[in-house]
């Protein structure tokens, strides 16, 4: 399809504007995961990795076995 003539470029801005909700959602997801508190899209809490603790915890919230100190190991 031929490229849009220059005066139609405003339409591209319109599409970019339509894409904003999608981008805002992803930005919100990343911010909420990385900061203590987020208002709108503005982080107000401290930067934290607390929400990423699932990386070394089991689904029940306990630390995974690889990090547990078993009795015979702790002795």
């Amino acid at each position: 399809m031929p490229l849009l003539p220059p005066r139609w470029r405003l339409v591209l801005l319109g599409v970019a504007a339509l894409s904003l909700p999608v981008i805002a959602g992803i930005v919100w997801l990343i911010l909420t995961g990385s900061f203590g508190e987020v208002r709108g899209l503005v982080p107000v809490g401290p930067l934290t990795l607390k929400n990423w603790r699932f990386g070394n915890r089991s689904a029940t919230g306990r630390r995974s076995m690889s990090h547990c100190s078993t009795p015979w190991r702790s002795r």
Partner: protein, 297 residues
């Protein structure tokens, strides 16, 4: 007879799969819909004929649920097809670098798991000062509760638009450039080229996307379930498939009514078939798949 063996052998695997995974579930659903199968009668279900269908007709909320389904289907479909077409047209009419970026952004909601996607919507729709929508509109309210249909349609639409966008983009790319050159030589404007050249050639993909999305929207309810669970209040956003699910598999009182849920599912199958036949008629399917009037060798 022997000359039919080879084609029959080729058709057999697909036929077996279709019978097993498409026809058998429909027949089972129809059979279940004629029984009173529930958790109470699980051991000894009784044949009750059209009793479940009569119960559906007597349900005072069934009209509302039907209206909700039509409302959800109509507006979401309009958003999906319209936005998909707009995105495909615009992303195909700019430099490929920008077009690819726009398409990539619009694919993000589709690749997100529904639960994560709904968490995003719940976060954005919260009251001020936490919710972005409340912030932007200057009104503090939970938008999922205040405007449940708008949120559901927008959330579904943003996911669904990417499907149409991809298919329409590939269809636009398949249009022979000669047609665009010819329209330029004839002095057609961009709008005229879209209206007279592109859109008529997109009839087949538009039919496919419309039919596919209709059937998909009729049966899918996961975003509604996660966003509002049919509320707020009584059946405000309950659609047919969600109600069937709640009756057949998830009931507050623990007595799930498989038979009644199956009757609702059977009605949905009939609605799907009727709507598809209607689309084939509207888009003149026979002409679309017919022999081309001009054959070029």
């Amino acid at each position: 007879m022997r000359r039919y063996w080879a084609p029959l052998a080729f058709v057999l695997p697909a036929t077996v799969l279709i019978m097993l995974f498409f026809v058998a579930p429909v027949v089972t659903t129809l059979y279940l819909s004629l029984t009173d199968l529930s958790t109470i009668t699980f051991q000894h279900p009784r044949w009750i004929g059209l009793g479940n269908y009569a119960s559906l007709l007597r349900d005072p909320f069934i009209g509302k649920i039907l209206f909700n389904t039509a409302h959800y289907l109509g507006f979401t479909l309009l958003f999906n097809i319209g936005m998909g077409l707009l995105l495909a047209l615009l992303s195909s009419s700019v430099r490929e670098r920008y077009g690819a970026q726009i398409r990539a952004v619009w694919l993000l909601p589709r690749i997100l798991p529904p639960v994560v996607y709904v968490v995003i919507w719940q976060g954005l729709s919260r009251e001020a000062p936490y919710g972005l929508i409340s912030d932007l509109l200057g009104k503090s309210r939970n938008w999922i509760t205040a405007q449940p249909w708008n949120v559901i349609i927008l959330a579904n639409g943003l996911v669904g638009a990417s499907f149409g966008m991809l298919l329409f983009t590939s269809a636009i790319r398949a249009i022979p450039p000669d047609l665009f050159y010819a329209s330029a030589v004839d002095g057609a404007t961009t709008g005229q080229t879209v209206r007279r050249v592109v859109l008529p050639l997109l009839r087949w993909p538009i039919l496919f996307v419309t039919a596919y999305q209709t059937l998909s929207l009729l049966t899918s309810f996961e975003y509604i379930l996660l966003l509002t669970n049919g509320g707020p209040g009584f059946y405000t956003t309950t659609v047919w498939s969600l109600h069937a699910y709640q009756l057949a598999l998830s009931n507050y009182f623990g007595n799930v009514q498989f038979g009644l849920g199956a009757a609702m599912a059977a009605v949905l199958v009939v609605i799907g078939i009727v709507v598809t036949l209607l689309y084939l008629r509207i888009f003149n399917f026979r002409a679309l798949v017919g022999e081309p009037k001009v054959e070029v060798n």
